[in-house]
Symmetry: C2
């Protein structure tokens, strides 16, 4: 149906998005990486997603009339969940509607998850002891918690050690923090009920941290970093080699990633602002290698056939045991892994997209340094990992960078003109993942690059477009396409898409395409039978599905089947943080997924080589 | 029925015991503190309790004929569980039947407990990984264990850290140790299946350690020590005062008790002999103060009304966390407490005697530095703690000592003669608890001490017994009764029972008697309604119920109602070690018992003062 798209511009930061006809504004905002408060999950009851539509304001729905005041309706406020996009629109998102940082796509598919965190904090009032009531302090506390419906808890020796003194200092009226079934902290009632968690997406190249208010489920703040382990190898195999058999290198890599995680914790705490001691739990998803390095587990058996992890289970460890600086009794939950290189990030993608619970045949592609692919229905799910490389996260690309202020995130060639958009509209610094996809799609469509990936000589291009031919220039011994001249950039250097950059994109998309073909074959399905293609990744902003299809990063399916779901792995980590019951589901998902090991498969290399060609005439 | 008693002499060490008519030899041996191998629990199927009865050999039972060879029957071997005592007997216990040390009464009531320890050790063979079978090492191991019926286990991060290397070093054929649901150790299959635990009875004055082979439930060895904390106060109140509010003293006391526990572990390991690294779990019972000092919990709220513990729950902590040197991943389980001073030792007594599961109204008296008393049926159990003092463990008694070689354990006055027995028939060194009870009972019966506890002047006694009058002598300004002259003792000094010693016994027995009265009143029962009186204590050997009754340590009930059950608290610790399911029962028992706080009870002091008088004409 929605072959029709409308352009929506979100203010105040001008983020622009092509939205299929009939999509809600809330969904569009999420896809654009704008965090909107929706405690009700988009049902129109909470009124959290108020937006202003200054022109072409649609008639308010009944729900809007119920939730909003007459004054608000006159001021052109609407609920984003109630507005379906039927034409190009400019939408203003008020400050109170926005949540946190906009740089990282944090919402993903935004599935609704009931709020049931593993951490609970409450204030209780205990009857003081007497000769008639000699219950031990711990029992007194547990009985009071049970009266509030928090049963089956325990006070361990560590908590019991300062319990008598604290209960008496606080006149038997404390604030109590419970993680899982353990009472971990007793504090003055007046310290309030601030209770936070942090969800980490530990990528090979990119780290993302989401600070979540566990009282509401609201994402309070987001931070991201490059993974500092990248200095020791830009893919997992190189990192494992660096570790060596004695594990000395592994300790270095563990320290590095935890150091960056602590920096991100400090950053989100500063922004909220809160003390880190009110963060009681962290969850983390990552591929097998990232998981093992974080937990100090040996990695050498992962890198060589038959690619075996030490443990694929979820673990809950003391945060301090791995050096993570949250509450001193805080816990770190690491989600379970599938097998081989397919790790907890993939489990996160499945949870976030609901593939484990959907009768439709769906395909999810999580674009990272390892490209993970999941295919299947709730009856059967297959997964594989491909060595896509870090190109889409800015590494191995001449002017590559992460999605941050100044990154070129959109590229179009209109006529002979190159039209660029940068994050924050800042002077261009480099090219992030979405910009790279757009750039390749654009040069391909313009005939600057041929389907084999070869950049045509300026002479050949000049015949059709002299303007573009002028942009084909030499740079340090290789040829490149000039995206921005040095007068247009922040660094006063030109920004080019080089021949080698195009080759990196070919390698990445070739690996993914070959993986998809292999999974389809293994599943016994054809591409036509796939009902939805989900494109995920810790990109800083929105991938345009048409561009991804044009370069062959996703297979050639009708565009209405394609959905960009953002950082679905990170969304999974958040879901596991706000709802402890999903941890059982995660375990079942991890055990239930069939892992397809590509590297040892006859014919995979040939299929990979074939898949490196660009599609012709798709866009 | 059994108003008739027979004397049984156990060889080779001549231990003598008066046994009610009809009791089995196995029960008698246990009561005498002789450990006999009975893996079958006394059902006559294992043949472990072979004894030789040289004279008056009873006819072999059918079971004996089935289990023993004709040769053995001709050599007068019988199964101790099959022989009922109908006359005085001399019994030889062969070396292979005896287990471990004989000095400490370890068997208590010896209730049968199914062997279901919390520690399991097994050898498994895993299929090595392949590209077709990429299960993580931990999953591979857990699947193999599940096939052996050990399901729902987990491999934590700590175990997973060296799992890949170990599995490969041992060719995927390891010996696996599981504590609770956690795989804690993977070792070479050839290291075998040695798997031990140690049960501790942590008394205020006396410590006992039982090494138990968890493959069979057999008590392999026993050790005991005085509690070195005694240097800082001989009762719990004095120790708590020493701790002070800053807890500095508590750390000293914790180190001391753990040091002694480690010495006992070393001793039992040397005797078995095993390495301490094959001891995987310890259990401990102790009163509230001993429990808290062991676990490093604060004690100051225990000593003052309303006498509140920090925690009354059972805890399982890493043994290394408290400094206990068993396997580096070994656990220490501390049994739950009741309330006030009534601790896990009392829970142990209840479990061992089965009071929680018995319809009869029974009374248990656990004689220690705190005298704990339990009264009730399976419907309702009451417990209290009395400050009996350490007299029966040798402290505060002029020539007091623990039950060890050379301790006078039996005293009789026949005519004017004093007849002594010492442990190991060694030259006398001092007086242990049972000897003290005997000595007081004897001087009371002989009229040397009057019912008020006053030692009569020699002049008064001379009229009835000149020989005894000569034994009433002065010593360091107080009067005493000469038990052994200096030519009869190891230390070449006389051994006396002093006036002050008699007073200490009066204080102890008065406290206990007043406690019993209070519990009876609270329960609404009379002494006549009590169907059984159980006398327990970590004595080195057998208390004679008639003597205990004669001095009023137990109330005036018919002797057939009285049973000495030995170190029932320690027996409870052993039961909790060999059967993990009992830990739930222990929790229910601890929560179910009603604690009666004596110290705050109107009239208790008056009752106590009255109870200090000795009974007249009981023996």
């Amino acid at each position: 149906m929605p072959d029709k798209f409308h352009r929506v511009v979100f203010e105040p930061d001008g983020r622009t998005l092509d939205v299929p006809d009939g999509q809600t504004l809330l969904e569009a905002a999420r896809q654009a990486g704008i965090h909107v408060e929706t405690p009700c999950g988009g049902k129109g009851t909470c009124g959290g997603c108020r937006v202003i539509i200054p022109q072409h304001t649609p008639e308010p729905s009944d729900t809007c009339r119920e939730v909003l005041s007459g004054e608000e309706i006159r001021r052109n406020l609407r609920l984003a969940c109630q507005v379906r996009v039927r034409r190009d629109l400019r939408v203003v998102i008020p400050e109170e509607t926005r949540v946190g940082d906009q740089k990282i796509l944090t919402e993903g598919v935004g599935r609704d998850v009931p709020l049931a965190p593993n951490v609970r904090k409450t204030v209780v009032r205990l009857p003081p002891p007497s000769v008639e009531d000699q219950r031990a302090d711990a029992d007194r506390l547990l009985d009071a918690l049970a009266e509030k419906g928090m049963a089956d808890l325990a006070v361990d020796v560590r908590t019991a050690r300062d319990l008598p003194e604290r209960l008496r200092a606080f006149d038997f009226h404390p604030a109590v923090t419970v993680i899982g079934n353990d009472v971990v902290h007793v504090d003055r009632a007046t310290t309030g009920d601030a209770c936070y968690g942090v969800a980490f997406d530990i990528g090979t190249t990119t780290l993302v941290a989401y600070l979540v208010d566990l009282k509401t489920g609201r994402v309070a703040s987001v931070a991201s970093r490059g993974n500092p382990q990248a200095a020791y190898g830009d893919d997992v195999v190189a990192r494992i080699e660096y570790c060596g058999r004695d594990g000395g290198g592994a300790r270095t890599l563990q320290r590095l990633v935890v150091g960056a995680m602590n920096e991100m914790v400090a950053e989100v705490c500063r922004r909220e602002p809160i003390r880190r001691s009110v963060i009681y739990e962290a969850t983390a998803v990552g591929n097998t290698t990232m998981n093992h390095l974080l937990l100090g587990l040996p990695v050498h058996a992962i890198a060589r056939a038959p690619f075996v992890a030490a443990t694929a289970s979820a673990h809950s460890v003391g945060a301090r045991e791995v050096g993570l600086k949250i509450h001193e009794r805080g816990r770190l939950y690491t989600a379970p892994l599938v097998a081989g290189f397919v790790g907890a990030d993939t489990v996160g993608v499945i949870l976030a997209t609901g593939m484990h619970d959907d009768p439709r045949l769906r395909l999810a592609i999580d674009i990272g340094t390892n490209g993970e692919i999941v295919l299947g229905t709730r009856e059967r799910l297959l997964a594989c990992s491909t060595a896509a490389g870090p190109a889409f996260e800015g590494a191995r690309i001449r002017y590559g960078m992460r999605a941050a202020s100044g990154a070129i995130d959109h590229v179009e060639i209109e006529g002979g003109r190159v039209v660029l958009h940068t994050i924050d509209d800042a002077p261009a610094i480099g090219l992030c993942g979405t910009g790279l996809i757009d750039a390749v799609a654009a040069v391909l469509a313009a005939g600057v690059v041929d389907p084999s990936g070869m950049m045509r000589p300026a002479d050949q291009v000049r015949a059709t477009s002299p303007a573009l031919a002028r942009r084909i220039v030499g740079a340090d011994g290789e040829v490149g396409f000039l995206l921005a001249g040095k007068d247009e950039t922040a660094g006063a250097h030109p920004i080019l898409l080089t021949q080698r950059d195009v080759r990196e994109v070919q390698l990445a998309k070739g690996a993914i395409a070959a993986g998809i073909e292999t999974l389809l074959e293994e599943f016994g399905a054809t591409l036509d039978q796939v009902e939805e293609v989900l494109l995920a990744g810790a990109f800083g902003n929105y991938i345009r599905p048409d561009r991804a299809r044009a370069i062959g990063l996703i297979p050639c399916v009708p565009l209405e089947k394609v959905r960009f779901v953002g950082n679905a792995a990170g969304a999974g980590a958040k879901m596991l943080l706000v709802n402890r019951n999903l941890r059982h589901v995660a375990g079942e998902v991890a055990r239930g997924v069939e892992h397809v090991e590509l590297s040892q498969r006859a014919g995979f290399q040939a299929r990979f080589a074939d898949a490196m060609f660009f599609p012709t005439g798709v866009m």
